[in-house]
Assembly symmetry: C2
Homo-oligomer: 302 residues x 2
Amino acid sequence: MTIIQLEYLLAVANCGSFSAASELCFVTQPSLSMQIKNLEEELGVILLDRSKKPVIATDAGEVVIKNAREAIKAYNYIKESVAELKGEIAGHLRLGVIPTISPYLLHRFVPDFLEQHPKVELEVREMKTSDIFKALGRDSLDAAIIAGGMCPDDIAEQELFNDRFYAYVSPMNDLYERSNIRIEDIDMKKLLLLSDGHCLRDQILELCTARRAVNPSCSFESGSLDTLMRIADSTGGMTIIPEMALPFIPESRKEQVKNLAKGVASRKITIAVRRTYVKSSIIGALKESIMECVSAAQNMYV
Amino acid sequence: MTIIQLEYLLAVANCGSFSAASELCFVTQPSLSMQIKNLEEELGVILLDRSKKPVIATDAGEVVIKNAREAIKAYNYIKESVAELKGEIAGHLRLGVIPTISPYLLHRFVPDFLEQHPKVELEVREMKTSDIFKALGRDSLDAAIIAGGMCPDDIAEQELFNDRFYAYVSPMNDLYERSNIRIEDIDMKKLLLLSDGHCLRDQILELCTARRAVNPSCSFESGSLDTLMRIADSTGGMTIIPEMALPFIPESRKEQVKNLAKGVASRKITIAVRRTYVKSSIIGALKESIMECVSAAQNMYV
DNA sequence: CGGAATCATAGATTTTTTTTATATCTTTGG
DNA sequence: CCAAAGATATAAAAAAAATCTATGATTCCG
């Protein structure tokens, strides 16, 4: 029984096919088949039911796969702990980013980061906050950039910066003439929100309902802030956008961005990692890259 | 980085020498040296300081060794879980036995057990109870036969049988004429006890002091019950012995064995295992073997 | 039924591991 | 201080293992 055999087994378990798994492992299908066969022979149990499509684990296979995941995790931890010890910025980093951050932040720090740390393989996935917490928990993600504040206990957050909220108002809206908008004045019927599951939606709703008890039902919802702004334009509505989205508003519409009265309205952008985690040197480097480009950018558009 | 390399590393860490480790691993010394070198190369760190005698781990080595132990534990667990699943009675079993049980019980069930389960490699170690708990905790022991009653939380006990206490009295002792001895009547000055650290000593002391507040200082102590009995004979003293020791008392001295009044005076013989343990099928078989031979023997000498 | 897809098998090839033999270095006893 | 013994490293040969190419068997689907 070798680590490679276990890795092949997990690959098949993950993608449900010998040939697909062999590609993932960068070997030919017979090679992978043979190793799985050897493993089954050594353990004296059939692990995979090849008659099913997709290939499925037998009862014994389920047990072995579960334990193999643990073993491989412990095994990988050895390399990570050494990299950590050497303070080396290298290795694979799987980074989750929420949809209301990723389009406005990634392009700014990713190129710099990769250039400064050529040994890091960065893999970014756009995910909603709840999925990020799950993924961090089951170790299918190393870190994530989220709007912080309510992490589970097993996740630790490191603060990056504050991201203020602004109002984006259609010229046809009653509030367009104001340069400063009080949350109490917002007509919830005209406020456009992201669809359910986005944490920015919840944060904005909380902001509004905290100021006055109001019916939180909304007239329209969408998955992207850009869409929301376009709908606001054409319907005489408004929406709330974060500061990091401002540079993407065309010059001709900059007038529609209004301050929100009282500066407390903002979200905290943080890096979230599992508490028991090791890749802290990479994450430290990532944090540095982000901070750097954010402070550079702030001089530009504030 | 392979499992074998990690095993070689652990072998060196355990015995402090490349050549000795190579024997433990059943390979030649150059083979082991080469694999350690490959491992060091891959990790990019020197793990062992060869200039020291015995060979000692570097700081990085300490970290890797610690994590490698965990990884190999998880790795071995895979095989064990499969054996478990198959209900197979096979594999290595490291069994601890306390000194006041081992000479009276082992010879009775071990031959039968090994014959009935030829695939089991049994390794018995005589250890004191406190060492057994430690060894179970750090996974250097699979199970143990002890006098139960006060296990730590992470250890589970399975009861085997009760082992009554008897008095062994010198003919010169005042109590020799009695056929039934009350604990209250024992002269603690004449009571011979095992040396400190044996749980049987503590159990007997507890038994005596529970019945009456008494000075527990003793006139003589020894590490073996047989010695204790011989000293009792020659000094007019007495001692307390467990039922399982009775068959080893020569016929000529059987008269010196006396019942203790009130039958509650006994110890519980149990099998102790770590709670998170898997080799339960082997341990189940072991339990069965012991129970069998005990019930057979009870017909003989009770 | 024929073609495509999937997994198994066989033999050749390459890679890796182990062994044997030997060198280097350190320690120890005379 | 030197020689012998002990321990690890190195190099080349041998053995073992993993991989690849090619092909066969089976199943699925149109």
